[in-house]
């Protein structure tokens, strides 16, 4: 059977989660590999959430927030960006491919962009195959 990756995704309530809802109300089809967790702000994404996701068997992690300048909490997305940059280097040192962790900006009106993003990331993860952490953690 073809490998099907699992993506854990953290979406901010105000822009990205609403954008994902819009993809739903507009009946835009996308890959069923994503699992969405709603948080109030991308600034709430603790780096340990990402590490935990990989440890539990995620093949990829996607963080989405409001576009720069549009954060509901003024600047949470910038805080997220700063943490992401560090974390992105860190996971590569752990042997996790850089394309397995992405941070993207999705506004409340960008249902199409969200659907395309999920398809695009799923496709890339299918090329990369299962996360190496799963082997270590003995997750099938």
């Amino acid at each position: 059977m073809e490998f099907q990756p699992t993506i854990i995704s953290f979406l901010c309530n105000w822009c990205s989660y609403t954008g994902a809802d819009l993809a739903g109300t507009s009946r835009m089809k996308y890959a069923p590999n994503i699992r969405i967790i709603r948080i109030m702000c991308s600034g709430r994404v603790d780096p340990t959430f990402v590490l935990k996701s990989f440890r539990e068997g995620a093949d990829g992690v996607l963080i989405c927030g409001c576009h720069p300048g549009d954060c509901h909490y003024h600047e949470g997305n910038y805080k997220c960006l700063r943490r992401f940059k560090l974390l992105h280097k860190y996971i590569q040192q752990m042997g996790i491919h850089k394309d397995r962790l992405r941070l993207e900006w999705i506004s409340a009106s960008e249902g199409r962009q969200f659907a395309d993003l999920v398809d695009n990331m799923t496709e890339r993860l299918m090329e990369l195959g299962p996360s190496p952490i799963k082997e270590i953690m003995e997750i099938a």
Partner: protein, 583 residues
């Protein structure tokens, strides 16, 4: 805390979820999860019988945690929180799993959709185990209201609230009230004077003791939350500020600039004018070309900037009717003129609008249909200008013929679009915009004048293109929402704020440096951070920055989110159990 006893409810949403997700299988899979007492599926969980089912089960089975797996929590989380309250449970002991917007509406493969739904519901179940009772906080509502925009919607809302005896601050960024309606001669479909309506409104507003009009003033730097907003007024002094409890955004529309459409030659052909420029001509009582001649051939072009992928894809809703109004007005002013309408589709919905179409079509007006996606009418100067000023080439799609229409005057029915500065307004009031830069309502059918930000309402054409009656209706609805909130006098506010565990706090003050609301202070004596929960909005950025885990964000704690991750991935098979470590 007592042992969790969880009830799981999987909603069909009629066939919306059920036709893609095997709801029975999802419910059955949840039965095996720890602490799940019962797991059911039902056709409409949000209906009264659906909610009653939850209440009955809570009482009969001593449930103390509820998972509802249905639509987006943005739609029905409040509904189900109230259900829990009715059954005597703390409303925060609920978790929703979104298996409609995020599953059944976006996936076709039943197996994959059902698997995904299982993992989302399992995540909700593991999360709800760690939910805590949260006590609601209420704050007093400041009875004053800020209305942004002095057009017909803003004026209507202001009068409605002021007449009820409440204070209104009416902000207008230009130096005059009236908005777009002030530039309209008569309104469709009854040909009553828009001027009379708007001037009466303005007069009453100016004389009203409860209305304070602030001209040349933009909405900027608004702070606070529902019931207690503030806006500084630096031009009136350093400390001057407005205080108000609710906001109505009624910033209106901007007419589309047609100079971008090459075919129409607007800007260099002097007798090609926009609909609002023609309104001015009607108000002056003189319909004439730039040379002062009475036009013999007049063409009205519909859908200028609307319903076209190069401009705006949406319909501006009022142009067809305004065009029919123009044709009727032209016919009575110039009985001998040749009047042409180049239209794409005639959209005459609304009360007495189809009737106006019928009447206009009996007034010797030539209707020509064109395809606004393919061939726009092309206007050029007539080579011999004795007979007419311009010639317009139209591919008439009903006959299939190329038609050349003479014209001395061309009226472009321009689209409505959002103002350029609407993003600044959106940012200061904390409301999202749709792809066309119109404000997004909380729910298109169930809550059309509220927004996702409590205490902020929208009315008029800043929400979407609409005519005067619709703008007025929406403004009155927004005013009614504000008045009812003032009447209640208090509002429950989100309690999902941050708080510090002083025993864990090391006093590094990282949280203070990341808080966007200056809501965290430092207690010098105990060397710990302290959260001011009135100022905290619960974004949680302090929690993710805290190195010791001392600051927690209520309802979004590390434990709750971690358990959600675990639950989400628990459906994947493990090779052995020995890896069950703790991070």
């Amino acid at each position: 805390m007592e042992e969790p006893r969880i009830g799981v409810y999987v909603c069909w949403c009629g066939t919306n979820i059920e036709k893609v997700v095997d709801v029975a299988e999802v419910a059955k899979a949840m039965e095996k999860l720890p602490n799940v007492v019962l797991s059911k599926n039902y056709k409409y969980m949000c209906s009264d019988p659906g909610q009653d089912l939850i209440i009955k089960d809570i009482k009969e089975n001593n449930l103390n945690r509820i998972v509802v797996s249905a639509c987006s929590p943005r739609i029905h989380e409040l509904t189900f929180r109230k259900t829990l309250e009715k059954a005597g449970l703390n409303p925060y002991l609920l978790q929703m799993a979104n298996i409609r917007e995020h599953v059944s509406w976006v996936h076709d493969d039943k197996k994959a959709a059902t698997d995904k739904a299982k993992s989302l519901v399992a995540a909700a179940v593991t999360r709800v185990n760690h939910h805590e009772e949260l006590q609601k906080r209420t704050v007093d509502i400041n009875p004053a209201t800020l209305i942004i925009g002095g057009g017909i919607a803003g004026l209507t809302a202001a009068l409605e609230i002021a007449d009820a005896g409440k204070k209104v601050f009416l902000l207008e960024k230009t130096n005059h009230l009236g908005g777009v309606v002030a530039g309209i001669d008569q309104s469709f479909p009854y040909f009553d004077s828009a001027q009379q309506i708007i001037q009466q409104f303005i007069k009453r507003i100016k004389q009203h003791e409860n209305v304070e009009v602030l001209l040349n003033t933009k909405a900027e730097n608004i702070t606070g939350y529902v019931g207690n907003f503030k806006m500084p007024l630096p031009m009136l002094g350093i400390d001057a500020e407005l205080e108000f409890g609710n906001i109505i955004v009624a910033t209106g529309l901007k007419p589309y600039d047609p100079s971008a459409i090459r075919e129409y030659g607007y800007g260099y052909l002097p007798n090609v004018i926009t609909s609002l420029e023609f309104e001015k001509m009607l108000m002056s009582g003189k319909i004439e070309t730039k040379d002062g001649k009475t036009p013999e051939d007049i063409l009205i072009i519909h859908c200028v900037g609307s319903r076209n992928k190069n401009c705006h894809e949406y319909c501006s809703r009022t142009c067809c009717m305004t065009a029919l109004k123009f044709a009727t007005q032209l016919r009575s002013a110039l009985p001998k003129a040749n009047i042409y309408q180049a239209y794409a589709d005639m959209r005459s919905f609304g009360k007495d609008c189809e009737e106006l179409y019928l009447k206009a079509s009996q007034k010797d007006i030539m209707f020509l249909m064109y395809d606004q996606q393919k061939y726009l009418p092309e206007i050029r100067r007539a080579p011999n200008r004795e007979k007419c000023e311009m010639l317009v080439e139209i591919e008439e799609i009903l006959s299939g013929d190329m038609v050349e229409v003479p014209a001395d005057l061309v009226i472009l029915m321009t689209a409505m679009e959002a103002h350029e500065d609407v993003k600044d307004v959106a940012r200061t009031v904390g409301v999202s915009l749709c792809g066309n830069d119109f404000f997004i309502e909380r729910h298109p059918k169930l809550d059309p004048v509220a927004t996702t930000t409590d205490g902020v309402f929208i009315a008029g054409t800043c929400q979407a293109p609409k005519d005067i009656p619709d703008s007025v209706a929406q403004a009155k609805a927004a005013a009614a929402r504000v008045l009812s909130s003032i009447d209640v006098g208090q509002v429950e506010i989100e309690v999902t704020t941050a708080f510090t565990n002083e025993d864990l706090c090391c006093g590094c003050q990282t949280c203070i440096s990341v808080c966007p609301y200056k809501a965290i202070g430092f207690n010098e004596e105990n060397r710990v951070s302290v959260v001011n929960e009135i100022l905290c909005k619960g974004c949680g950025t302090c929690s993710s920055a805290c190195p010791t885990g001392a600051i927690r964000t209520r309802h979004f704690t590390d434990k709750q989110i971690m358990s959600q991750i675990e639950g989400m991935l628990s459906m994947t098979k493990r090779k052995s159990k020995k890896t069950e470590l703790e991070v």
